[in-house]
């Protein structure tokens, strides 16, 4: 996943703001990168652009070698379902579906509807330690368990990149660390990178790379404590 010279204007006319001012970043397989910065620094906007949900005003984004330039919303959705998994701050699970069906949904939108899809969903929930909660509805799960279901949903389609937006913000310390541990395990394989947007200092020990963003610019980058899986850091402001 690679961003080159990404600029993003938000709003129109007099109220228009330049949320990103030329951001470069690459996320490589096998690393867990943290994108940190204060509120309004452009973290979420950048995550949306990397996740092909927003299009950059200028610059290029490449996902697994595919440029997003000129793609329509349907083509961007196709890139997302093939290559990207998302973990959201407030989980965004489907409240009327069980944990298993929530995870299956990620396969359903990819067109996988066979019994194999059910097996994959069960396996994904097993990886996050929720084999015993397959038929539980989100309302019957704790915050930490809901976030685990969301992680299972993100990884079940075997995407190249996981983008996580403040995944620990709604959790207590113990659950937050547990979730980061799961994400770190996911990033252990060389074929998958994880980018976590956060301003939670508790999770710094899990990072292989820490990228700092302010006012729409990447202002610093450092290797994390947990850099044994780190590939070469490429991004710079």
């Amino acid at each position: 996943m690679e961003a080159i010279g990404v600029v993003k204007f938000l709003g129109e006319g007099a109220s228009q703001v330049r949320a990103l001012r030329g951001v470069n970043l690459s996320l490589n397989g096998g690393e867990l990168a943290l994108l940190m910065g204060p509120s309004g620094s452009g973290k979420t906007t950048f995550l949306s652009i990397l996740g092909c949900i927003l299009s950059p005003s200028e610059g290029t984004v490449r996902i697994c070698g595919h440029s997003t330039e000129g793609l329509n919303p349907e083509q961007l959705a196709k890139l997302r379902r093939r290559h990207i998994g998302f973990v959201f701050q407030t989980y965004h699970l489907f409240p009327t579906l069980t944990a298993l069906d929530n995870v299956r949904m990620a396969l359903e939108v990819r067109g996988e509807r066979s019994s194999r899809a059910i097996r994959k969903a069960r396996d994904a929930l097993a990886v996050v330690g929720l084999s015993h909660k397959l038929e539980s509805f989100p309302s019957e799960l704790s915050g930490g368990e809901q976030q685990r279901v969301a992680i299972a949903r993100a990884v079940v389609g075997d995407p190249a990149a996981i983008l996580a937006d403040e995944p620990t913000a709604a959790l207590d310390s113990e659950n937050g660390l547990s979730i980061m541990s799961v994400l770190a395990d996911i990033a252990r394989g060389p074929a998958r990178g994880v980018l976590v947007v956060t301003h939670d200092p508790r999770i710094l020990p899990f990072a292989s790379r820490i990228i700092r963003i302010e006012d729409g610019l990447i202002v610093g980058e450092e290797r994390g404590v947990n850099n044994r899986w780190t590939s070469a850091a490429v991004g710079k402001a």
């Binding site: 949900i53 379902r81 990207i84 965004h92 489907f94």
Partner: protein
Amino acid sequence: MPLILKLAGRNLFHDRLRFIATIIGIVFSIVLVTVQLGLFVSFERTVSTMIDHAPADLWIMRFGTKCFEDPSLLDEGERFRALSIKGVADAVPVVIGFAAWRMKDGGTTPVFVIGSDLKAVGLLPWNLVAGSIDALSIPDAVAVDQSYFGRLGSTGLGDTAEIRDQRVQVRAVTKGIRSFTTTPFVFTAIERARSYIGIARNKATYLLVHVAPGADVGSVRKRLQETLTKAEVLTPAEFSARSRSFWLFGTGAGAALFAGALLGMIVGTVIVAQTLYSSTKDHLNEFATLRAIGSSGLYIHTVIIIQALLSAVIGFCIAAVIGMIIVVATATSALPVYMTPTLTTIIFLLTVAMCVISAISAIVQVMRMDPAMVFTR
């Protein structure tokens, strides 16, 4: 169960109160449409019931006759001219007209008298449940339908009344011969009918033509039309269609029934649209999540359409039961609501169309949705 069906169903049933309100709205709408269209079919059938039951190959009538109930008269001479045409086996005169039926208690009610030659194959009562056609040969004899006993102050065979100060006696009773005007039909012999209506002995309203065996109806019709300068010749289908067209569209009665049905459709569409819109609004976050995790627009639209179809099927099933109760309850009334398999299919398709059209507002809402909202909520 397919996941898409599960998601759509649970989205729909999640808020039970709203779901029940939606179904009630759909049911009322469909029942209204059913009654209106059922009455339309009933009206359509009843309008042409005499023409459809008359054993004629061709109808001869005065030029400009708009419908069966139009009392324009032909001269006897037209009958003889018709009989002189090659291929015409018989031309049976029929007279019709309104008259006042005076009951024994002195009250009166309008009736529609139909007189035909009892010895010929004319327009005679059918569906007899009491008495006989032969009994109509008895002086003063008439046949009436049992559904109008109340209107006629009659209880059955043997009851007497007066038409134009002349005694009449019920000698035959029919079942299910109803008039769309709700004016009771009174069948009798042609001579007495002329007397009851007050028309000359040499006049007739229609001539029912029987074509000779082997003769071509089209050719006979052409020859008749060339010969009869003051009359026109129609096939039963043409006359039936003309009558229906006059009463259903010429008078605005059909338009009123259609307007009622249309109103029902509009009310139903608005109710379902409002429900789907608010349901979609409530679940917008989930649709945004679906979009964010890579769902196609088509998949999301399908979820909404399935919600609409589920509403349609459930609403239709309940409405169909109520509709059947109405059909049964009105079956013996003066104005029955008819239901046919074709009409049932049409109403089901209308229900589906109504619900799918209703989904448009919800789909537009989803199309305008920004999937980036998943990061901000």
